[in-house]
């Protein structure tokens, strides 16, 4: 089962290649189409002892060491689509944004072939965008949504945006409802910042149902994967040297071989003059990642080319700290090492957002290809939580509140 997606993928690519050769002689060969999108953004953070980044795989952001950052939201993407026949197409999208090493070397965001088995049934193979939330498929295309970025309190629960594998989409039109059912299987590797190696998701599968009726869109999805993060191994190996108590702590918090599951529900109503969008999600793993849930509601009103909007978001997580090993029962010679492990475990546990965020912003469509947005976020962090911040400095204190100010310019070609 573990190797099935890869084998199936290879088989499919080969057979699609064969079909492509035959169909290439169709009388109406389709042209390549090219598209590009870009966002240039700056963000300011009032928290100077930690770094705000728009996802955990970027090392540089706003706050520490510089209050302002242009590396958080800035992204450039280019896409080439080939319509080989009416039934077969291929697409490659390259994205350049801040990588785990702080550089901007372009990555293949996705590269897949799509085959229409029937007009309503599509199968795709290769690197595919992962649909988690309403906007996460186009999360890098700033022009496609009203905000400067999708609500981070909620969207960063599932920061991975692509998967290598297969996806099958079935579309059903009944009365005036369009329902799209989607099944995905695959795997995903993400490079972590610094020397963190990678996070791997294996035996990954998911289901999603999207229903659309006029201005209303609803979305429900479930996904699960086995997660492997090698960089945490030494921490849990350390605990395992401390007898039964250490063994129990390691088993409870170890990340590897644990199932990570995600349930997300959302709805959006957009009749044109205004929009209201709300999503709720829950992620759970019996590991140091624990259980998290978050939701947001957002609304905006369009006045000509200007759309003022607001967002209220709430993120909750359990288990932000653990007493760890009982130091008093340990000989003095190893108590220091045990205290070090306890501190390391607690620092990992605290990296979870427990916060409420109010955001106010505006989008100005000054042309039909470009939009300028400004957004202010005020977050109140729960006790013991470092919110969405990384790169915590020694004098950083959890909890408290923080303001972000972001301005972006997004274009599509």
């Amino acid at each position: 089962m573990r190797h099935l997606p890869t084998k199936a993928l290879l088989g499919l690519v080969c057979s699609l290649g064969a079909i492509a050769t035959v169909r290439a002689q169709d009388p109406k060969p389709k042209l390549f189409s090219f598209g590009a999108f870009a966002t240039a953004g700056v963000v300011h953070s009032t928290e100077r002892q930690a770094t705000f980044t728009s996802n955990p795989f970027k090392p540089n952001g706003a706050g520490f060491p510089n209050a302002w950052s242009a590396s958080t939201d800035t992204v450039l993407g280019a896409q080439l689509t080939a319509r080989v026949t009416r039934k077969l197409s291929a697409v490659v999208q390259l994205v350049s944004e801040q990588n785990h090493d702080g550089g901007y070397r372009p990555r293949v965001e996705w590269a897949n072939v799509a085959f229409l088995l029937t007009p309503d049934l599509t199968i795709r193979a290769g690197r595919i965008v992962l649909p988690a939330f309403l906007m996460s498929e186009s999360g890098k295309v700033g022009y496609s949504y009203p905000w400067v970025r999708p609500p981070a309190d909620v969207y960063l629960m599932v920061p991975i945006s692509k998967s290598d594998g297969l996806d099958v989409t079935y579309r059903l039109n009944r009365r005036e409802w369009t329902t799209t059912l989607q099944a995905t299987v695959g795997r995903s590797d993400v490079r972590l910042i610094g020397d963190g190696g990678s996070a791997k998701a294996r035996d990954f599968w998911g289901l999603a149902a999207i229903s659309e009726h006029g201005a209303l869109t609803t979305r429900l999805s479930y996904r699960r994967a086995d997660i492997f993060i090698a960089s945490l191994n030494s921490l849990f190996d350390g605990f395992r040297q401390f007898g039964a108590e250490g063994q129990a702590i390691a088993d409870r918090y170890d990340v590897n071989h644990k199932t990570f599951s995600t349930v997300i529900a959302g709805a959006s109503y957009d009749p044109g003059r205004f929009f209201v969008t709300s999503e709720w999600g829950r992620v759970a793993a019996r590991s140091v990642q624990g259980r998290k849930n978050a939701w947001y509601v957002s609304g905006g009103y369009r006045i000509g080319p200007v759309t003022p909007y607001m967002i209220y978001a709430q993120a909750r997580a359990d288990n932000l700290s653990d007493p760890g090993l009982t130091l008093s029962s340990l000989p003095a010679s190893v108590a220091g090492a045990a205290a070090g492990l306890n501190a390391a475990l607690n620092s990992v546990l605290s990296i979870k957002p427990v916060q409420n965020t109010v955001s106010l912003g505006g989008r100005w469509d000054f042309s039909t290809k470009a939009a300028l947005k400004v957004q202010m976020d005020h977050s109140d962090l729960g006790a013991g939580s470092s919110g969405l911040f990384s790169n915590l400095q020694p004098s950083y204190r959890t909890g408290g509140s923080v303001n972000l100010l972001t301005a972006t310019l997004s274009v599509v070609f």
């Binding site: 689509t81 659309e212 044109g272 039909t368």
Partner: protein
């Protein structure tokens, strides 16, 4: 002084009036049309929008629908999306940027104007377009009005 002031006011009022009425005169009512020999008789505005936004690929009777757009930026196109879907050109662009950059489809083919839409419909039995109501003749059937 007072007299000149009121004259200017009157002129402004005239210009303002012309501004608010001229779009209504330039872009009369848009209607959604199919070929006269098509089996499709009537669609709701939502159904028409679903086809043009790529949400629906079939007519209610199960046949494949081929939407045909008018030129980007044309008064007819802007009027159609505004009257049928309440959407501005920027909103339509945002919709397609979402669809295109997730590899889920692409916008309808487009032709220059309403006359070209009628020619396209004559050649393609499954085609659906929108034209100014004054262009309606025996070759096309109106299936949805504003």
């Amino acid at each position: 002084m007072t007299r000149r002031g009121s004259l200017t006011d009157a002129r402004f009022a005239l210009i303002a009036c012309a501004l608010c009425f001229s779009p209504a005169i330039a872009a009369a009512e848009m209607v959604a049309v199919v070929a006269a020999k098509s089996g499709v008789t009537t669609l709701s505005r939502n159904q028409v929008m679903d086809v043009f936004l790529g949400k629906a690929i079939r007519f209610p009777d199960g046949t494949i629908a081929i939407p045909i757009d008018q030129a980007e930026g044309s008064a007819e196109r802007n009027a159609f999306y505004s009257e049928f879907g309440g959407k501005s050109p920027a909103q339509i662009k945002a919709h397609w940027s979402k669809v295109i950059f997730t590899g889920r489809g692409r916008p309808p083919r487009e032709v220059l104007n309403g006359v070209e839409v009628k020619k396209f419909i004559a050649r393609n039995p499954g085609a659906i377009g929108y034209i100014d109501s004054t262009l309606v003749d025996g070759d096309v059937r109106v299936i949805s009005e504003r």
